[in-house]
């Protein structure tokens, strides 16, 4: 699937709070041979607030995005942000209904032709590019890094609209991280809600919900919580300090999966952009390196032992008649 091209919709947070997602996504896509055409003069999809007010308003904002793409000859849209993805998908789905489409057109005043699609960066990498290709590209495997993948609630839900992975126990990021060489711990809260955009109006929500997620990640001994959603990332990383004042007793970095890909692909600091995260990744990486060395030493020990045994067996075979029953196994 190399050489594929998509219209790219970074989403508003890509210009701000998820700058690191944006940079690493572009770098990783380039490395995997995906061409991204920026949708010219794209607008905000309306996010949760527009949807809260009225799905028609939300769909109208999405419809303008698709129309802008269509002007540049773009039909297939790619976005890193699950919230944008959800809005864009919902818009396409709802507009299959004639009446709904007519109501949207009353707002946009330009009709939308059929034939648009939208996918997440994660879905395209896992399903279209394929994990084999990702594996091939790895230069710096993440051996020894203990990760928990956190998908959030929007990536796979609602099932009928997102049509991607298992809505209760998704696997795509698990497999992707394994392809990068990392250890993936089974994480039962991988689709629990982190509080979403309610962090601002309901202050208590994020410490409570994101706190629960971070706490379990810590209990499992993870070095990092790996995410795919800017909103989740903000709640888990940027607000981690707020959560700590409410009882969380450790820190854990929360990078995007694309940042780890950039790192594993051997790309530069600028593109992996770990510096933009609130919580420092350095301790986690030094843990990883220490563990990688332990693993290497262990592997060497096992190999040596196996060689020793093989040699002993060969020797014993030759001497078996002479030695009789003397040979006891080590």
């Amino acid at each position: 699937m190399s050489g594929a091209a998509f219209g790219y919709f970074p989403g508003c947070s890509g210009l701000g709070t998820s700058l690191e997602y944006e940079r690493s996504t572009r770098a990783v896509c380039r490395e995997l041979g995906l061409t991204l055409w920026d949708i010219p003069d794209w607008n905000c999809c309306g996010s949760t607030p527009a949807h809260t007010v009225d799905p028609v308003l939300s769909a109208a904002l999405s419809a303008r995005v698709f129309a802008q793409g269509a002007r540049a000859g773009i039909r297939d849209v790619l976005t890193p942000c699950p919230s944008c993805l959800s809005n864009l998908r919902n818009a396409l789905e709802h507009m299959e209904d004639e009446l709904f489409a007519a109501r949207v057109e009353a707002l946009t005043e330009r009709p939308l032709e059929a034939g648009h699609s939208v996918k997440s960066v994660l879905q395209v990498i896992v399903e279209d590019v394929g994990l084999d290709k990702v594996k091939e590209r790895v230069r710096r495997p993440l051996t020894g890094l203990k990760t928990v993948p956190y998908y959030g609630c929007l990536m796979t839900r609602p099932e009928k609209i997102m049509r991607f992975d298992d809505p209760e126990n998704p696997q795509s990021m698990d497999l992707l991280l394994q392809a990068l060489g990392a250890q993936v711990l089974p994480f039962p809260l991988k689709v629990d809600c982190c509080g979403g955009s309610l962090g601002i109006p309901v202050r208590d929500s994020v410490p409570r919900l994101a706190g629960r997620i971070l706490e379990l990640a810590g209990e499992l001994g993870a070095d990092m919580v790996v995410v795919a959603c800017p909103l989740c990332q903000m709640n888990l990383d940027l607000r981690q300090g707020q959560i700590r004042t409410r009882g969380l007793d450790y820190t854990i970095p929360v990078p995007y999966f694309t940042q780890l890909m950039a790192y594993a692909f051997g790309l530069g600091d600028e593109e992996a952009a770990f510096k933009l995260l609130a919580e420092d990744v350095a301790p986690a990486f030094s843990c990883m390196r220490r563990r990688a060395e332990e693993i290497k030493a262990e592997e060497a020990r096992v190999a040596a032992l196996a060689a020793q045994k093989a040699a002993a067996r060969a020797g014993r075979g030759a001497q078996s008649r002479a030695n009789g029953a003397a040979g006891g196994e080590a």
């Binding site: 209760e168 809260l189 379990l216």
Partner: protein
């Protein structure tokens, strides 16, 4: 022809939305109708008497009754006209209840439609001919498929009444699901103490031949004379030599086999005797786990067997049997609950099914009757029971109530307290369904006496945290979200028709519903019969039910089979195909399509012709629709009769 027409009010069931008098009066204008009236209840004794009186008074030669579905009362009215001296096939029914009055409220449209259905019936009746059944001898032997408690009851009742019985059981032992249970509700008496002796009775009964580890391979024939082929699966142990001593199971080195009988609670060996009270108590080898079969090297069981019963070269064996009737008692299985990813989908060892828990409670089970967490063998203190996992859940395609989970969950909560006095049981339920003798009292006892904490609500999610399982649920009566830190979670997994049930139904030519449960002849009046004569139903295969109901239905099925097989001769259905030899050109097309091999080629003065074997023909009419000459006609459903119905509806 002089036809009489009777329009039944069925109280207000029909008369409520059909003007019955108007229909009767319209019918008077139909050809050959000599008499027409409306009648309050045609099927009641006064109604039937009125029909007989009218036949005599008006010298009727044919009768149309417009009432309910012929699937209900056609046999009733056929007997009625017979009592008045008419041939039973000089009768037609118009279904103006199920197909008219019950499905629409528009009186004008209903009345018009009812009149037209009567017109169709009259048109067909005008072409009806008198038909006479032939009689044939009956094989006085009963086949019981399935050796659970329902099948055991049916087999013993029939055998006690003197009937020869063949029982076929898929597993290496009979006993079914009941044999896996520790105790039964609402008496909390020991399951194997009640069932065990009945299983022994089956083994020892002179009239019962048991084929365990066997399946019905194929069935042909018809009521009174079914030909059954039974496949005896290779157990790789010669059961005529096996004494059930169990030495082989002790010595078998392959100790990681899946333990089917114990629902996978702990592993077992590749050669097994399912449980100590198994009937027959014989060993069998599970091929997929056996070292001899997988590596070609082992042979331990053959070496230790004192009677030399092990036979690795054994092949499946086929047995042909002739039976007059069949009881299907194939029971149920649990649905695949791993679709519930929110409960771990099978990833968390301490989330178990109710049947697994039953094996843990059982003294003869793999834990010796000690409740232990599968993960670490520790005794759980907080046990959460979740009901309706795969029952009453449209989202997993199981909208029905499994019927017995409320009761066994209550029982398991009681047993939990008995086993671990300082434990706490939590039961998440939606409704408590306990309509049985002593049942509701039982569910009160578990709460009042045994202090089980009943929480009205469903569980959204179960996940491990440290050594505990966090159960996230709701108490809808409090209107609150609740959480429980549990040591063990027991899922009351919903039941479904036994694996392979639809396949057996196809062999038996009986219907099954979309969940694989076999269809009874009539939901109220023919609960153990099927629409295939000679095939009866017992137990959960017909619809989920508990032990007392299964036993009752087992007895009922035996009674029905006995009534059928007590006769020496049966009447054949004369609604079969027959060949007009003048028209037949011997093209053989009918012979090719007949699913029952009921048509043979004969030679008539050097010309090939088709001939119907009357006792074999089932009356489907496939040949009739196939015959290019219209030479072969299905009696009572001839081309002319069906076209007469169509013409009654046509404009031109």
């Amino acid at each position: 022809m002089r036809i009489g027409v009777f329009i039944c009010h069925c109280g207000s069931n029909i008369a409520g939305t059909v003007d019955c008098a108007a229909v009767a009066s319209k019918a008077r204008a139909y050809p050959d109708v000599a008499y027409s009236t409306d009648i309050m209840y045609a099927c009641a004794e006064p109604g039937q008497d009125a029909i007989i009186a009218a036949i005599k008074e008006h010298l009727l030669t044919g009768v149309v009754v417009a009432s309910c579905t012929p699937r209900m009362h056609e046999p009733t009215f056929r007997k009625t006209v017979e009592r008045a001296g008419l041939n039973r096939y000089m009768f037609e029914m118009a279904n103006i209840r199920e197909h008219v009055s019950w499905i629409g409220k528009d009186i004008e449209a209903n009345t018009n439609k009812a009149a037209e259905l009567v017109r169709m019936a009259v048109s067909k009746l005008r072409l009806n001919r008198e038909l006479k059944p032939k009689s044939f001898p009956v094989t006085k032997r009963l086949l019981v498929v399935g050796g659970g408690v329902a099948g055991i009851q049916a087999a013993l009742d029939a055998a006690d009444a003197g009937l020869e019985v063949i029982m076929v059981e898929k597993q290496p032992t009979i006993g079914g699901k009941m044999a896996k249970l520790d105790k039964t509700f609402p008496t909390v008496d020991c399951s194997s103490c009640i069932l065990g002796p009945r299983m022994v009775d089956v083994a020892q009964h002179p009239n019962i031949t048991l084929y365990a580890y066997s399946e019905v391979d194929s069935i042909s024939g018809y009521v009174g004379n079914f030909d059954v082929k039974i496949r005896k699966k290779a157990s790789y142990v010669d059961w005529s030599k096996c004494t059930g001593c169990g030495l082989c199971t002790e010595k078998c080195p392959s100790k990681k086999s899946y333990d089917r009988f114990n629902e996978g609670v702990g592993p077992t060996t590749a050669i097994i005797i399912p449980f100590p009270q198994a009937i027959p108590k014989k060993a069998s080898i599970e091929r997929e786990y056996c070292r001899q079969f997988n590596t070609g090297k082992c042979g331990v069981c053959a070496k230790v067997c004192p009677t030399g019963a092990i036979d690795y070269g054994m092949q499946d064996e086929f047995i042909d049997a002739k039976v007059g009737g069949i009881v299907a008692a194939t029971g149920y299985d649990l649905m695949d609950w791993t679709v519930y990813q929110e409960y771990g989908g099978g990833r968390y060892p301490d989330v178990v099914t109710s049947l697994q828990y039953e094996r843990m409670l059982s003294a003869s089970g793999p834990t010796g009757g000690h409740i232990k967490r599968p993960s670490d063998g520790e005794e759980p203190k907080d046990v959460v029971f979740i009901q309706c996992v795969g029952s009453r859940d449209v989202s997993v395609g199981r909208p029905y109530c499994s019927g017995f989970c409320c009761m066994y969950t209550a029982k398991q909560a009681i047993l939990t307290k008995d086993h671990i006095p300082d434990s706490r049981s939590y039961v998440f339920y939606m409704d408590i369904r306990s309509p049985g003798k002593g049942y509701d009292e039982f569910t009160r006892r578990v709460q009042e006496e045994y202090q089980a904490r009943y929480i009205r609500g469903r569980v959204s999610m179960v996940y491990p945290k440290g050594k505990k399982l966090i159960v996230r649920g709701a108490d809808t009566l409090m209107g609150a979200q609740v959480e429980i830190e549990a040591d063990l979670v027991v899922l009351a997994v919903g039941a479904e028709a036994a694996e392979g049930a639809p396949h057996l139904a196809e062999k038996l030519r009986i219907s099954y519903d979309s969940y694989g449960f076999f269809m009874e002849g009539h939901p109220k009046l023919r609960p153990v019969e099927t629409n295939t004569a000679g095939v009866f139903l017992a137990g959960a295969c017909q619809g989920l039910k508990d032990i007392p109901s299964s036993v009752a239905q087992g007895s009922a099925a035996a009674a029905k089979a006995l009534a059928l097989l007590s006769r020496d001769m049966l009447d054949s259905d004369p609604q079969i195909a027959s060949v007009n030899l003048n028209r037949c050109v011997g093209c053989r097309k009918c012979i090719e399509v007949c699913p029952f091999k009921a048509i043979q080629e004969i030679d008539l003065r050097g010309q090939p012709k088709a001939e119907v074997i009357e006792t074999v023909c089932q009356g489907c009419g496939l040949c009739n629709a196939t015959c290019p000459q219209g030479a072969i006609q299905l009696s009572h459903f001839t081309d002319n009769q069906l076209l007469a119905e169509v013409e009654a509806l046509c404009r031109f």
